[in-house]
């Protein structure tokens, strides 16, 4: 019944399973090679749980050299590889296939060096996103990109998907914070690109690698920028009776020269669902809510907020609620960051990730509602308002194939809408398998051909995460 096709597994590879496992076992100790049915099943999907494929085997190397040995072997044996961080991809970027070996980076989980003077940290790629910030927070520093899955997701995965987060409005996304990588190519070659300085020589390979969705190699280490936190930060809730007012307020704040560190949007249904879960004090009597966070000293925050409040009043804000303590501030963010999880308690959902130009947000929200209602389903909207990255959560029953089909169709219609108004299919989750077959809505075949030619320089045999990103037809090496 599944909507998204996987290529049929290669029977010749399946037939060689024992031989391939033996080859891997010769390279890694037994605890690093997972072959039993039960244990493999733990890797059969990621956060796009409607799709599952049990891989041929899973390996968890402990060093760059082990990754290199594994890839060299699998390349020689002609076996496909699916790189995996923590398996939190919402686009199916880490979903395996039956004839592929999963190469996970979970054992590469050490922070190698923190250098405050140069404001960089060198980490193994299996370190979690939040793990970096946790290690440096006591000294007043943080790692800026903050995807909602930051407790679990790895830097390897963040690099794969060019992950964003709520605070990207001011700080940018993963690609703006990676200064260097150590990466293993499919033939086992170990590359060091960049380092502790602010740029790398030659062509901007880092720019190509960040967001590669596991198609160019396996990243095993990264040098990341770390930033000193401002003296303080305060999130404030702004409630509106009309979605259009909230959207206009966002545009007006930016138009007045203010770039808050975050501006997040939730609609009524999203507010209800998250408030029931997080008890963050969200206003339940409004149609739309913005969480706007400003930074600096208390006095600076007061001055900035005064400016923002004045703007919000011009756009008919109904309620304004400032966090009065660090605990309240944390609750406000807890609510936002648990929005997906909280929705999951109410219903199964698929989370879309299109971006629309800010000026078209109100229109896109209205059309989103109409589209989803047209399929007889419900949608909650939570998204990064400052940059137009939308996350409609389309609710459905995963055990009802007809509903799943409707949900996926609604999602596709919304993404096409985002492209039509000048936006894109995915703002931060990646293409994965989920949006693979929609790529021609955004790109011409010529655009995709150029991407595939660049891809083929790294992986001419299409062994790395081969069922993702590019439509299965029309591939070129």
């Amino acid at each position: 019944m599944t909507h998204i096709a996987f290529p049929p597994p290669d029977p010749a590879i399946l037939a060689r399973r024992e031989e391939i496992i033996a080859g891997l076992a010769a390279l890694l100790p037994p605890e690093c090679v997972i072959t039993s049915d039960n244990e493999r099943r733990a890797y059969e999907t990621d956060a796009l749980t409607a799709y599952r494929r049990v891989p041929l085997a899973v390996v968890l190397p402990r060093s760059t050299e082990e990754v290199s040995a594994v890839l060299r072997y699998l390349n020689g044996a002609g076996v496909k590889v699916v790189p995996r961080g923590a398996g939190t991809s919402l686009s199916g970027g880490a979903i395996p296939q039956e004839d592929a070996v999963v190469v996970g980076v979970s054992k590469l989980n050490r922070i190698l060096d923190v250098d405050y003077a140069n404001r960089v940290a060198r980490v193994q790629a299996g370190v979690t996103n939040l793990g970096i910030t946790d290690a440096i927070m006591a000294d007043g520093f943080f790692y800026a990109p903050d995807p909602s899955s930051q407790l679990a997701c790895t830097i390897a995965g963040n690099i794969g998907m060019n992950s964003g987060g709520a605070h990207c409005l001011k700080h940018g996304v993963t690609t703006n914070h990676i200064l260097g990588v150590r990466m293993v190519l499919i033939d086992g070659t170990i590359l060091d690109i960049g380092g502790a300085q602010l740029d790398a020589p030659g062509l901007d390979l880092l720019g190509l690698i960040v967001g590669h969705e596991g198609q160019l190699g396996v990243v095993t280490e990264a040098t990341v920028r770390i930033l000193r936190a401002t003296e303080g930060a305060r999130p404030v809730l702004f409630g509106f009776d009309h979605i259009e007012d909230a959207g206009a307020c966002v545009a007006d704040v930016i138009g007045n020269g203010i770039v808050p560190v975050a501006m997040e949007f939730m609609d009524k249904l999203a507010i209800e669902i998250t408030e029931a879960f997080a008890h963050a004090g969200y206003p339940l009597d409004v149609e739309a809510m913005l969480i706007i966070e400003v930074e600096g000293s208390d006095t600076e925050i007061d001055a900035q907020l005064a400016r923002i409040v004045e703007i919000a009043k011009r756009h008919n804000v109904r309620t304004i609620r400032e966090s009065q303590s660090a605990m309240e501030a944390a609750l406000i963010w807890k609510g936002r960051k648990s929005a997906f999880g909280a929705t999951g308690r109410v219903a199964d959902y698929i989370c879309m990730d299109g971006t629309a130009p800010l000026g078209r947000l109100a229109y896109v929200l209205k059309r989103t509602d109409e589209i989803v209602k047209g399929y007889g389903l419900r949608v909650a909207n939570v998204f990064h308002a400052g940059d137009g990255n939308m996350h409609p959560l389309i609710m459905y029953n995963v055990n009802d194939p007809a509903e799943q089909d409707k949900a996926e169709r609604a999602g596709n219609d919304i993404l096409k809408l985002c492209v039509e108004v000048g936006g894109c299919l995915t703002g931060e989750h990646g293409v994965g398998i989920e949006k693979r077959d929609l790529m021609l809505f955004q790109f011409d075949q010529t655009d995709l051909d150029q991407q595939m030619r660049a891809r083929a320089v790294f992986d001419p045999k299409w062994l790395l995460n081969p069922s993702k990103v590019f439509p299965l037809d029309g591939r070129i090496a």
Partner: protein, 395 residues
């Protein structure tokens, strides 16, 4: 040698396809103000972007601007000025360094990837470049990225085209994200620090919570008789005053800084951005060294033991501009040996054509990276038509 001046992207594609048929390489020029960047252009026809001009989209509330590649930067900045916005990476104007005339274009800004002092806080040109259209060496019109800042759809071909000096494609349209222009600014000036102390001061400032947006050190004899260590604060007026006071206190170990106002701040950082302190004498070669800030004074000291050099530091010390005699290899062997002790790299920015043909202008890459570089060049431009050899010989 012909000069082509196409007015549309489709015309660019026709010219490239025709050049491909004739196997005739093309040198791509915008305003020509940074023609001295990279290895010298080979002989061949010229493709000028001069007629590809005009802002195609400017949405102040979305902080995004798109323009055809040949649009003069001056025109972009005038439009942004009206809405009090800026290209945050503070693109360097090469005219002071090269003594060139003409107008820098937005395509040249993207293709050279040159970022100024604010890079240390707000990101580089490549970080703000969010969309490109280009014609590759097959004569195909290709797009990547777009006009929205959050976009991870497909492999990112935007950044690799930024800074590629036109070796992968002829940029026809570029899209940058913007930030509000700072409403006020000030500069703190510490005097008399030696290089290691100055870089320690810069790093301490960058590690403070006060969002320093410019951190440079001009040693004695470079732009003035006394060594000056300068920090820029940009914000709303009340925050500028507050943050300067806090930095004064936090950096008391380094002395009592003088304070420059908004106008003086703009002037001094423009000079730092454009490498004015080293522009004269003209017969000197200019190098750009990129290295972890705390390693920079050691690298510089090691170079200075081997050659007669003058220098200053930007990016908290992580960017060293260095002037050397333009003789022989312009100091390449000594400079690259000093840099080799780090993960950093050195680029020869200004030198006579003969020197730039003989010396590796860009840091030589390890073979594995060079192989990828050649492969990528071929994937965009299989016949090596576009700005051939401007970055690396044969690429």
């Amino acid at each position: 040698m012909s000069v082509f001046t196409p007015a549309t992207e489709a015309d660019v594609a026709d010219i490239v396809r025709d050049a491909r048929t004739r196997k005739a390489p093309l040198n791509i020029v915008g305003g020509g103000t940074r023609a001295g960047l990279g290895r010298p252009a080979a002989s061949g026809d010229t493709l000028s972007t001069a007629a590809l001009s005009g802002i195609t989209l400017y949405e102040p509330a979305e902080m995004v601007i798109s323009a055809k590649a040949g649009t003069p930067l001056r025109e972009i900045e005038a439009a942004l000025d009206e809405k009090a916005q800026i290209l945050p990476f503070e693109s360097m104007d090469f005219r002071a360094l090269y003594g060139t005339t003409g107008e820098p274009t937005i395509g040249g800004v993207a293709a050279s990837g040159a970022s100024g002092p604010r890079r240390v806080q707000s990101g580089a040109a490549r970080d703000q470049l969010i969309g490109v259209r280009f014609v590759n060496g097959r004569g195909e019109m290709v797009k990547s990225g777009g006009r929205v800042v959050k976009n991870v759809t497909g492999l990112d071909l935007v950044k690799i085209n930024g800074g590629a000096l036109g070796t992968l494609g002829v940029l026809t349209e570029v899209t940058f994200k913007l930030t509000p222009a700072p409403r006020d600014s000030a500069t703190l000036v510490f005097e008399g620090l030696d290089d290691p102390r100055a870089v320690a001061c810069l790093c301490a400032a960058m590690g403070s919570p006060f969002e320093v947006g410019g951190a440079a050190h001009l040693p004695a004899g470079v732009g003035g008789d006394v060594a000056r260590t300068v920090l820029r604060i940009e914000h709303f007026p009340e925050s500028v005053a507050y943050r300067c006071d806090k930095l004064d206190a936090a950096l008391a170990d380094f002395g009592v800084p003088a304070r420059l106002d908004h106008a003086a701040t703009r002037a001094i950082w423009r000079d730092i951005r454009d490498v004015v302190p080293l522009a004269e004498p003209r017969d000197r070669a200019i190098w750009k060294i990129s290295v972890a800030p705390t390693l920079a004074p050691g690298v510089v000291a090691s170079i200075a033991r081997g050659i007669n050099a003058r220098w200053f530091y930007d990016w908290s010390g992580g960017l060293v501009w260095l002037a050397t005699p333009a003789e022989g290899d312009c100091g390449a062997a000594i400079i690259r040996a000093a840099v080799a002790t780090t993960t950093g790299h050195a680029t020869l920015i200004r030198a006579p054509d003969e020197a730039r043909a003989a010396v590796d202008v860009f840091q030589p890459l390890p073979e594995a990276l060079m192989k990828l570089t050649r492969g990528l060049k071929a994937s965009f431009d299989p016949d090596g038509l576009l700005n051939a050899g401007r970055m690396y010989a044969g690429v």
